[in-house]
Amino acid sequence: MSDVKNFLYVNRKAPHGTIYALESLEVVLIGAAFEQDVALAFLDDGVFQLVKGWDTSELGVKNFQPAYTALGDYDISKVYVERESLEERGLTEDDLIEMTYEDEEDDWAEKSSIRIVSREEMAQIMRDADVILSF
């Protein structure tokens, strides 16, 4: 396809309390269905979207965290998580859910989609994106 653009979805907000996280996920799924090159970035409180073990039973909202693990099926293989944001919140990569994709170039081997990057690298990723959608 000729008109494939690099879309970067930037997630900065906690998963609950606002609709941003869920809306972002919906838009990501729509974008991926149109076979664009999609990458996700999680920084600031957005990293909480990927922290394991949500319990939404008291919130009266659906637990949509499992949907993040389906993103590999949508050929989304680039999930950037900012190291500084994790550290500032006392979190490490081990606190995050597993997100995987199957690498077509490597006999469909299952690989992790999550890439921990520094703040500086994140800035470069943003500079390199054709389109940035911020949530």
């Binding site: 919906e26 974008g31 099926d73």
Partner: protein, 112 residues
């Protein structure tokens, strides 16, 4: 137009496109009613897809787009079932859309 499906004398509400409003209202009988309205005679092959969609939704909390459904079906049932032609023969008006409706799931995201 939104309205109701009639199942065993009970009314099950649906939206203007025919997707049921409360996912917990689903039953096999309801699936048959929706299928009939869609002009589909449910066979074992239809049920296989519908059940597969329900399992997928259970695990991931989303109704998969057609491309994803094809890929996942291929993985589970092999290429003779995991392809567009097979699925469109079963659900001529769009496998993701029609099968999801029958399976009592929301309309797949990105299905316009």
């Amino acid at each position: 137009m939104s309205g109701f499906y009639e199942v065993n004398g009970k009314q099950v509400p649906h939206d203007e496109e025919g997707y049921i409003t409360n996912l917990s209202d689903w039953s096999k009988e309801l699936a048959e009613v929706i299928a009939k309205q869609e002009g589909i005679d449910m066979t074992d092959e239809h049920w296989e897809v519908v059940n597969f969609l329900r399992e997928y939704y259970d695990e991931y909390q989303i109704a998969p787009a057609i491309r994803v459904l094809v890929k996942a079906m291929k993985k589970k049932f092999g290429p003779e079932k995991g392809n567009n032609k097979y699925l469109y023969e079963l659900f001529p008006y769009g496998p993701a859309k029609q099968a999801c409706k029958i399976a009592g799931l929301p309309k797949p995201t990105g299905c316009v």
